[in-house]
């Protein structure tokens, strides 16, 4: 903001009419945002400060201050779910970016027949999350699953994929990376296609091998797209729900339970609206922080981002 004092001048009739029209055109979008974003968020925060258990309607919804939050901080299951979510972020975000980069590089090759690559790229992205979860639940199923069938084919012992805490996590990692890497690949492919071909030709004339071209040109030129993909992927990873829900429902025990699942369990299964809301607010704060990092990144000087 500049410090220059704003000189207010009387608006002409035409300017006033344009201003009114401007407000009128903005109003529907503004009202919609208030209705579907602002109101729910305010209501969520409101509920998080109340006792509200639908199993005990006679208690009413009294204001209890930070009680729900103190309860969360002392709740080992909350911490376990948070830890699981963190592990999912640490493993599946870089995982999806690496696999997505590979897919994008593949899709960027000048294939004569393009549709199989495009389909392979778009299909995981187009599938609903729960559906992807169900597919992988079948893949990792003990008796009839594909993975155990392959293990048996090579003479190995079938593994109890979804009922062993560690193996269940690994199974979910694979499913999440498979499902989300195609989105990353689409973002990175768009980035790859903005790199001029002549840079590679110049590098080739300059004596760079393919590997050197990847390190010296592709990767640095793709950095802005990779950062965007990382941030988007992180925001969705914080909210990881559908795939573990469909594959293990958090099990065995709460071994694969994420924060979003624990929130769901409290509000929908245990009908504890107040506590669930407090947990949701905590998750919202973390998401908002990551989003802020993203906004800071995109608001930087575009010329600097590009170079």
């Amino acid at each position: 903001m500049s410090a220059t004092p704003v000189v207010r001048h009387r608006l002409t009739k035409l300017e006033r009419a344009e201003q009114r029209l401007g407000w009128a055109l903005l109003a529907p979008a503004f009202l919609l945002l208030v209705g579907v974003v602002l109101y729910p968020v305010v209501e969520l925060i409101n509920q998080s400060f109340r006792f509200n258990q639908l199993t005990m309607p006679w208690m009413g919804t009294p204001f209890i201050g930070f009680d729900n939050y103190t309860k969360a901080l002392g709740d080992p299951r909350f911490w376990h779910a948070t830890l699981n979510t963190l592990i999912f972020i640490i493993v599946t975000v870089p995982g999806a970016v690496i696999v997505g980069l590979g897919l994008a590089l593949l899709a960027n090759k000048p294939f004569t027949v393009k549709w199989p690559v495009r389909l392979g790229l778009l299909l995981p992205w187009a599938l609903p999350l729960v559906f992807a979860g169900l597919i992988f639940r079948w893949f990792f199923e003990y008796n009839v699953g594909l993975v155990n069938a392959v293990i048996k084919m090579f003479g190995g012992q079938p593994l109890t994929w979804l009922s062993d805490p560690t193996l269940a996590m690994i199974g979910i990692f694979v499913a999440i990376i498979w499902k989300t890497s195609s989105f990353v690949a689409l973002v990175l492919l768009a980035g790859l296609q903005t790199i001029p071909k002549s840079l590679y030709e110049a590098a080739e004339v300059d004596g760079a091998s393919s590997w050197q071209q990847f390190w010296e040109i592709t990767l640095p030129m793709l950095r802005p797209a990779i950062v965007v993909a990382l941030i988007f992927r992180t925001i969705t990873a914080i909210q990881t729900f559908d795939i573990p829900y469909a594959m293990t429902n958090g099990g065995p025990g709460d071994a694969t339970e994420t924060l979003a699942m624990y929130i769901h369990k409290n509000t929908i299964d245990f009908l504890d609206i107040g506590y669930g809301s407090a947990l949701a607010v905590l998750m919202f704060v973390v998401s908002a922080l990551v989003t802020a990092v993203y906004l800071r990144h995109t608001q930087r000087n575009p010329a600097r981002v590009a170079t």
Partner: protein, 367 residues
Amino acid sequence: MAGIAIQRVVKAYGSTPVIHGIDIAVAEGEFAVLVGPSGCGKSTLLRMIAGLESITDGTIAIGDRVVNDLPPRDRDIAMVFQDYALYPHKTVFENMAFGLRMRKSPEDVVKRKVDAAAEILKIGHLLQRRPSQLSGGQRQRVAMGRAIVRDPKVFLFDEPLSNLDAQLRGEMRVEIKRLHQQIKTTIVYVTHDQVEAMTLADRIAVMKGGYLEQLGTPDDVYSRPASRFVAGFIGSPTMNFVDATIGAAGGTIRLKSGVTLAVPTGRHAELAQLAGRSVVFGIRPEHLSFGARGPDVVGVATKASMVEPLGSDTLVTLSLDGAEMTARFPPEAGVRVGDTVELGISMSRFHLFDPESGHALAVRPKL
């Protein structure tokens, strides 16, 4: 340094040939320009020399080594691209050092060579900037700097000036010429701009539709064009062409419009063998004069239909009974549209072409 031998080189994409067997020998230290309209195959030929396009048939040799199957990095060439192809995330220094570093040159050598090249191109003060912080002309210099630090056998330029504005293009043209005089490396330079070709080249290769139309010095292609295409492509404004018939014994040329021009006796013998033939008569605007004065100049009555003042000259389009010719007059002529003008045609400077094949028929001897 090395010469380049291009022998019967063919390029085809699938079954579509785009270059039909071209032979060009570029001497060591020579500045060769490939010129022609878009799609003539000049860039493709350059990229084949660079190794960025495969060679369908024939051979290309740099020095005495056939390079057909060598990757670009082993051909000891450097190339300046139309869009400069500077690495945007690297500084000017890193851009220029890239080729040396990829070849594992020691850092002190890299520094010395980059500084020397920067000195030649006067970009020493820009070494720590990024390409996005440079003007078009500066980027162009960096691109050339990146080429010269490598000290290659051959420089390849692919329309390097076409992204610059007219004034800068003129300046950089001079720079490139000076650079060549200084470092004397063999250069193959592609352009669609005939002015660049004429001013820079030791020899010009005029290409059209994948064929070599003419290979010669700038004076050759200007004064003795091998075809109607070359005649029309080189020179601005373009050469005037009028359908005509050669009179008996080659003593006259009768233009389609009905005007008969007397041929100077010196060229009778040359034209005698064409007597009675239909030809295309060609004459450059600068060989038409305001008024008929001087030896071998034939006067014709014409009417001015368009006047384009350029300051130093005035281009006047004149009609002679249906045929049109553009002449370059001094501004003092003061011709206005509708004026009747006595046009002087310098009959020692005309060209004749075959109406079907476009080949030059009478080759004017060197003056």
